[in-house]
Symmetry: C2
Subunit: 239 residues, 2 copies
């Protein structure tokens, strides 16, 4: 067993950051499956060397099990692992082709949406403010805000043709997508109303309201960070 | 069925680029499993609108089946899909925790190594030259070359402690990693010899030679691109 200072190990512990969309998705998956877990908060902008021992990529989230003898790193490996445990309700459809569509959308959010939107916005608006290191980069911020709109059009296209994001059943794709949107919404950077395209995004809003009403999601929306006040509609399922 | 101009559809067709590491990994997986497929070459630097219909992310590879009614996009969803079909030899170990380690290493190569090394090097040295669009960016090139070394240390650490990259059995992690290294090696950008750290990278070289000797890998090493001559050791299993 590797020595992991400052983290009290229990049977299953998620190392996460409350406003990290990748961590949020894992928390939601664990709750959807009624799997008990403890959490330990790490700051993604300053990964401690002890954490690099666990995940050399230096990214969150990290799931530890059995007093740290099981170390599972990164969003997709973690959620696939939890699914492989076959505990609770499955979050993948059964057919290989339908599973592939779920994974495609998860990747789209965890790689493309993350790099285009969730990472720049949280980095510029949250990480830099809390760490007091650097000032927000206006080019990066503007690009992030512009990308939100482009990407919402694609999400609107998907949910206009399907009951849920990757097909007709609720899946991991809905969890991952909602986790990313929730972080952007915490920052009040989703143009739900008072925007020229607000109407185009109505299908997204309807779908997001359905995810918001799930018990597993409501737990996330209760997170608070000192110095940040989310908009009023943020935690309200009927927004 | 969506209309896909200029691509003759057969039962299973992989849309790929010969020197795209992500595409190479899929070709190797299909060959390892003895799955028949045809290929169609696309240039990753200029994705045609017809391709965006298939994959809105605009990335390669794309796997089409059943005359295009099945569209599977992106490396990890494609390889997981092929595994889910349960054809041929499995490329994942059986235990969930061992599978998670395979997926962690795949992600490390397909996201981190790709962005730090394989993408900048192929973009600056191959894409720009063939497309005649832009000149190589020296900052990006230098960063890619510097990152190769850092990342080879990590690979050396992994293969020094294990028989194969993700554990004691050959897995998808070895295929994905070798696919990325093969592209960098085609460009003669791996410091195997005549380098201060060449000795540190010997475990990587031994592991890579073992992957090179597989039939599925030798097929990839026969690819040629007009105007580019790989180094002599490139296609030689005993290099």
């Amino acid at each position: 067993m590797q020595e992991i200072p400052k983290i009290v190990l229990k049977n299953r512990i998620l190392i996460h950051y409350p406003l990290c969309p990748l961590s949020r998705a894992v928390r939601m998956v664990l709750t959807e499956k009624n799997i008990d877990f403890d959490v330990s908060i790490e700051t993604p902008w300053k990964i401690r060397p002890e954490l690099l021992v666990l995940n050399p990529a230096g990214t969150l989230p990290i799931l530890l099990e059995d007093n740290g003898s099981n170390i599972i790193c990164d969003i997709q490996p973690i959620v696939e692992y939890i699914e492989d445990l076959q505990l609770g309700q499955p979050l993948f459809p059964t057919s290989p082709i339908a599973k592939a569509e779920v994974r495609r959308i998860c990747n789209w959010f965890n790689i493309k949406f993350y790099h285009d939107v969730s990472l720049p916005l949280t980095r510029e608006r949250i990480w830099k403010r809390i760490s007091r290191e650097g000032t927000p980069d206006s080019v990066s911020l503007r690009a992030g805000l512009e990308n939100v709109k482009h990407h919402l059009f694609y999400v609107a296209h998907l949910v206009s043709n399907r009951n849920w994001l990757a097909g007709n059943v609720f899946s991991l794709a809905d969890i991952v997508a909602a986790a990313h949107l929730s972080v952007v919404d915490f920052l009040d950077n989703i143009p739900w109303t008072h925007h020229v395209h607000a109407r185009d995004f109505e299908p997204v809003r309807d779908w997001y309201a359905r995810v918001k009403s799930r018990k597993s999601f409501r737990a996330l929306l209760g997170d608070s960070i000192t110095g940040f006040i989310p908009p009023e509609h943020y935690a309200n399922p009927d927004f």
